[in-house]
Amino acid sequence: MEVTDQELKIDLQKQGVLMTSLNELYNWGRKNSVWPLQFGLACCAIEMIAASMARYDLARFGAEVFRPSPRQADLMIVAGTVTKKMAPQVVRLYNQMAEPKYVIAMGACAISGGPFKQGYNVLKGIDRYLPVDVHIPGCPPRPEALLHAFMTLQNKIASQPLTGPARPRHLRAGAPSEFSVPQCGPHGLVPPSNPAVWRPPTAAQAG
């Protein structure tokens, strides 16, 4: 059924007739106007800036409008090392963004703490507090990697259904829109991770 519909659509498109569904139209509009939040935390931000400039031209994907206010942004690119002192602010910024909102964790520090993983003042991955949609490894990732992450995110947005149980978080009434902001405790962040978002991996027992 679905397959024939797709084939029919392609056939019609060859004849110059465009067909679409409300869901596709909605996602097409959303994926081509993802506005990132304008903030950088460390050196990865330089690569993010390079990606938005003329050579790599993030504008091709409709994402050239970096918004200085979280109210107007759809995408948070966590570009760089998240220190424990900065983490509450990052989570609060995410909370202040309007739904639907997406997160790209850019670079080794943002996805896992990177070279500072065993340090005393670096959060070991922003996915401990925020639902990350796309992770980009690299130290720092090249602008092409960010573009690839962006296209991956666009594919994700395009595949999200408008109705049904598999619909994304922002279309479900019970799903949370804000995530708990960690506090700066005497030794580190309290709690060390948000169990609703992230669980520590279980250690493999040797031998």
Partner: protein
Amino acid sequence: METLEEICFRIKTALPAARVEIIPNASPCGQRSLLLGREQGLAVATFLRDDPQLRLDYCSNVTGVDWLEPSLPQGFVQSPSSAGLKKEAGEGLGESGTGCLEAVYHLFSMAHKNGPVVLRLRTENRLAAVRLPSLTPVWRSCEFQEREIFDLFGIVFDGHPDLRRLLMWEGFQGFPMRRDYLVADDFECEPTPHGDVPKRMSPRQGCAEVIQKTATADPRV
């Protein structure tokens, strides 16, 4: 540029009460430094800045060092009463023999276009008596760097205009750059050559435990 011996002599001539000592450096760079006494540290610093032949008017860098219990050279018996011990043990021995915290100042002269002269100030020990005179009144550029040393090493600078934590947040406990700092063990298991993370992981459930990090055997490594 005068040699360190000449500078040392001039300080002692101008301020007879000052305690100044030349710390040798056995490394290839051979950059020696001046160890000042705490009590006259501020007076000596003012002299170094204002003396017309020195004019060390620019402090480029302030660093903290944590000297744990030093590993003594062979053949010496560690006893604080031994007068020769302090001299022979060289770097990093506090007065009571329990190690010390140290602030290192790198001075240059913009007027004479030379430098550096390295100053050291040592606390009495590294546990309770961790006070040093602040040199911020002499060199304004010390302000943030002394704050950072206070933040990370816990040296209390007397006379500092705004001694607060700089990199860590208010309410943080401990001084992370000290060698015996208990690091918050909030990272998950991964195959790493850096230590015994898998071993620590197996018995525990939570993620926020604080486990003592083993201090390195030789503090001067």
